[in-house]
């Protein structure tokens, strides 16, 4: 079969569609054994006994490992209680917590034997009910972020036009297609090799070295391809340590792949949240006060916080802003950043409230936003490195046909359907970290780049290859970018939309250095400075040259600016008057993310963000029965991610103007902004269509009908 690829295609596209790309669970390790976890069926308490006799005697079973018989784990003896030490004590912190791992010669035998392990418990009272806990003064609330205040506190309360509202988001799960797990191969000489699903091979390497107190270079982490993660693979989970413990115990390689229902309890989630927003404005539409108070769900055994209230501090021109953010520790698995993380949660509340205020003022919500667009970042009191948001408003509005929109809700009807338009803004820090890249330029005309970066799907290799191709004038097909291997030069984890900026800057620097060396070598050989590098290397009798460069974290000028990526989401929805069904019928997402280095994968990011946004707005909600502390829709039939039929054609527009303050490519990150704000655009459109304001996600038909 022949593939037709062009230079903007994913460099690993063919490997992925032909099955050549190997994901962690597909590695063949000689002598591999299979682990299956036994999990808690109670929510809080103590293990009083684990009867593993029947399991141990079942055919093919090699071991049942729990806190009762685990091998020594050096790191456990020293540190405090967080992060959770798996198989350490008899304590149960949440329902579904791994209590033991059964290892057998086949997956099927391990699965069966796991059902034979009998755990006895001493149960204790527990609390998993976030919504109830908010108003329950006996439930502990922890400060999640230093309170912020600019100007007068709660100034909205004295404004000419005031508004105070509450917004609720449920637990959402990342649930990428690829299940989580690991292959661990602990060797008698205390070296360990793992095939992992991780957003950071170096982070995983460090965690493992730390837990087992072995030198970092004795830990080899491989994770070349990852089948989606959305944030859930930003840390090493107890289940991974459990597998390494089992491998150490048995002195055999062990593979663990968790089940779909375990994906709801073992690898984090977007925390449930409750937010109160107060907004004040003058009658002519100038914001005078914003108060944003947020509560997020966390766990008792580890704490989790995120940037829920960040955006409210600087997105709009306003002299008086105060924010507060608390977390409520519950007897549930600990959350983790999920795409757009806290900012996406906060944007739902803020951007809904802004829309509500525009309505209260009888203003077009777009006009209201433009009127309150800040010149500078009022938090840091410095300009933005780049911000083309007004241009983005205009491009998006034209494309969706914003002028068709009527400010009065419920104005457009098509048979049984009401039609409405909504808009929302997304913003996320355009961060840049430090990474090291090694470049090997060869006399055969090829370039190899190496860095321990990750690719959870956005197309890291593709972006890096395009950056190098442009700088070096080498065709894409001659460049290889190697990643996902902890022995390569270090790079940070893939998170916070920073990989292109961080690793790309190092690629840039390596390419610049390689070019400079070529110019020197050309001079040595009395060649023209513009001579082709292949000729220069040959003339110098060199098969290759190498450079390893650590990029600086910042442009020196960066401290004078606030650096953010922006997005504007426009949606049109249709709402059925009798059934309450909401369909997103048009989407225009505009990205202000600097130079677009890789047009196809950048577009894919925006499309994926919009699809995730439809899920967040309309369908996704992980439900717990608080009487038992157990998830009850923990499968893909009942936890609804959007299907194709829920997704209309998505128009993506990029401003595509360089921001050279952020990095030499002029590119700002965009993984998060693709999602941030989207759910509010949908809620705002539902309001515009029907006059019904839904402040609790997801907006399911029953909520629309009952509103």
């Amino acid at each position: 079969m022949e593939f037709f690829v062009d230079e903007n295609d994913r460099v690993d596209g063919i490997a992925k569609v032909t099955g050549k790309a190997k994901f962690f669970a597909e590695y063949e390790v000689p002598g591999l054994t299979y682990g299956v976890l036994v999990t808690s069926t109670v929510t809080k308490g103590k293990i009083t006994a684990i009867d593993s006799k029947a399991a141990s005697n079942a055919p093919g079973v090699l071991a049942v490992v729990s806190h009762l018989n685990k091998p020594s784990v050096a790191g456990y003896e020293q540190e405090g209680g967080s992060p959770m030490k798996i198989f350490y004590t008899d304590q149960i912190f949440y329902n579904g917590q791994p209590l033991a791992i059964v290892v057998a010669d086949t997956f099927e035998r391990a699965t069966y034997a796991a059902t034979l392990v009998q755990v006895s418990y001493a149960k204790e009272d527990f609390n998993t009910d976030f919504e109830k806990s908010i108003s329950d003064s006996t439930v502990k609330k922890l400060q999640g972020q230093t309170p912020y205040k600019r100007g007068i506190e709660d100034a909205y309360k004295t404004a000419e036009v005031q508004l105070e509202q509450k917004y609720h988001l449920p637990v959402e799960t990342h649930n990428p297609m690829e299940l989580h797990g690991i292959i661990a191969d602990w060797r008698p000489n205390d070296q360990v090799t793992v095939y992992a699903k991780t957003q950071g091979v170096k982070a995983t390497q460090n965690t493992i070295a730390n837990v087992f107190k072995i030198p970092v270079d004795k830990v080899q982490v491989n994770s070349e391809f990852v089948g989606g993660a959305f944030g859930m693979a930003l840390r090493t989970w107890p289940l991974e340590i459990a597998t390494i413990i089992a491998s150490k115990h048995l002195a055999k390689p062990v593979k663990l792949v968790i089940t779909r229902d375990q994906m709801f309890t073992m690898v984090g989630n977007r925390p449930a949240s409750y937010q109160k927003i107060g907004i004040g404005a003058t009658k002519d539409g100038k914001l005078t006060g914003i108060t944003h108070t947020a509560f997020g769900q966390s766990a008792t055994y580890e704490n989790f916080t995120e940037g829920v209230v960040n955006m409210s501090k600087f997105m709009y021109q306003c002299e008086n802003v105060n924010t507060n953010y608390y977390v409520i520790p519950l007897d549930m698995g600990v959350p983790i950043w999920m795409r757009g993380p806290g900012e996406a949660t906060g944007a739902f509340a803020l951007e809904s409230a802004i829309d509500e205020m525009a309505h209260a003022l009888d203003m077009d919500p777009l006009e209201f936003r433009i009127k309150n667009d800040p010149e500078i970042d009022q938090v840091q009191k410095r300009p933005f490195s780049s911000k083309y948001i007004k241009e983005a408003y205009k491009l998006g509005a034209d494309k969706i046909g914003w002028n068709e929109r009527k400010n009065k809700p419920g104005s457009i009807v098509d048979g049984a359907w009401q039609i409405g338009y909504g808009v929302s803004v997304g913003v996320f820090g355009a961060g840049r970290g430090r990474a090291t890249v090694k470049g090997i330029l060869k006399a055969d005309g090829s370039l190899v780049l190496q860095s321990a970066a990750s690719d959870i799907g956005p197309g890291t290799g593709t972006g890096m290859t395009l950056i190098a191709s442009k700088l070096m004038n080498i065709p894409v097909g001659k460049i290889t970018f190697e990643l996902g291997d902890s022995s390569l030069p270090p790079a940070p984890s893939q998170g916070g939309s920073a990989t292109l900026s961080t690793v790309g800057s190092a690629v840039n620097d390596v390419c610049v250095a390689l070019k400079a060396t070529i110019v020197e070598l050309a001079a040595n050989a009395n060649m023209d400075a513009t001579a082709n590098f292949v000729d220069v290397l040959k003339k110098n009798n060199l098969a290759m040259i190498e450079k390893t460069i650590q990029s600086s974290q910042n442009n020196p000028e960066a401290k004078n600016y606030s650096m953010y990526s922006f997005s504007i989401h426009f949606v049109q929805v249709r709402v059925h008057q009798l059934t309450g069904v909401v369909k997103v019928s048009k989407i225009v997402s505009v990205g202000d993310a600097g130079t677009i280095v890789s047009p196809k994968t950048a577009r894919s990011q925006m499309v994926g963000g919009a699809v995730g946004g439809i899920g967040m707005a309309l369908t996704e909600e992980a439900l717990l029965d608080h009487r038992y502390g157990r998830y009850i829709n923990n499968n893909f039939a009942d936890y609804h991610v959007p299907v194709h039929a829920d997704v209309p054609e998505i128009d993506v527009i990029f401003i595509n103007k360089p921001d050279l303050i952020v990095n030499p490519m002029g590119a700002k990150g965009m993984g998060e902004i693709a999602l941030i704000g989207f759910s509010a655009a949908v809620a705002n459109a539902v309001f515009n269509a029907t006059g019904k304001r839904i402040r609790t996600l997801p907006i399911t038909p029953d909520k629309v009908l009952e509103a």
Binding site: T41, P59, E108, R109, Y112, T115, A416, H576, L578, T579, G580, V581, K583, L618, T619, L623, D625, R627, Y628, R630, I632, N633, A637, D638, H640, P642, V643, H644, A645, D646, T700, P701, D702, L705, E706
Partner: protein, 327 residues
Amino acid sequence: MINFQYVRTSVVKTALGLIGKDPKASFIAGGTNLIDLMKRGVTAPDKLIDINYLPLKKIEEIDHVLHVGALASNSELAENMIVKDKFPLLMLALQAGASAQLRNMATVGGNMMQRTRCAYFYDTTMPCNKRAPGSGCGAIGGYNRMHAIFGASEACIAVHPSDMCVALVALDAKVVIAHTKGERKINFIDFHRLAGNTPEKDNNLQKGELIVRLEIPLNNLNKNFHYLKVRDRSSYAFALVSVAAALDIQNNIIHTARLAMGGVAHKPWRLIAAENFLKGKNPTVANFEEAAKIAMNGAKGFGENDFKLKMAPNSIIEALTVAKAKS
């Protein structure tokens, strides 16, 4: 491992003989429901009798009656020309179910026999009278957004999840059932049961019996019909509420009305009183509204599913309105 035997046969008599001998044996057709239940530990048959090779796949019209073999797949049935032409309501209902991949595997018999999707039924650590009689009902006082508003009992408020069956009950289908001594035929409406005190029994198929075919009489309901499925996403989700509606309208008078609902009861819920009301009336929105009101007689919510008390009548009105507008 939980071992089980696997046998298959292409002879109906042999299949009946096999199931009769072994009280813990189970037929397997498409396997799309049974295998899931086995994996989750809800059921553990000691023998699977594969019936996919039985000669029960034919779809044919005989003497004004459509005969549908119990092993015809959901997609074959939906794509069949006679069904498209004469029973389009059934086609719509089939297409509203599951996903294309599942419909390719799912059979008519298996669809009728599929078990409830109640979360408490599936999670073996939770109480459920249907799975473990006497253990209690997790859904009462628990998460019951998807649950019944009609005919529920104190033992069970689960719903039958099928779409196909909602159309079949509206179309006056009959079920032909084989047993070792011969065949019996019952009305579709009598096939599924209400939960009562025996929620473990979904239907009136006796141990050792096999569904062999459906018989659906020809009718005049192929012009004004609609299957409306209200769900949380546009495809691949079970019904919050669904409505099968078909009208035989002549000279602006409703001669025959057929109405049934899914997602509201332990069985596909036929709305006879509402049908009787519509008979002889004009197909007006006012009459549809009145029919919907009649249909809701006796409905009761359990908290999280209270919204169905509004969604259900609304959906009846919408389904009738769309059905009427078709001509």
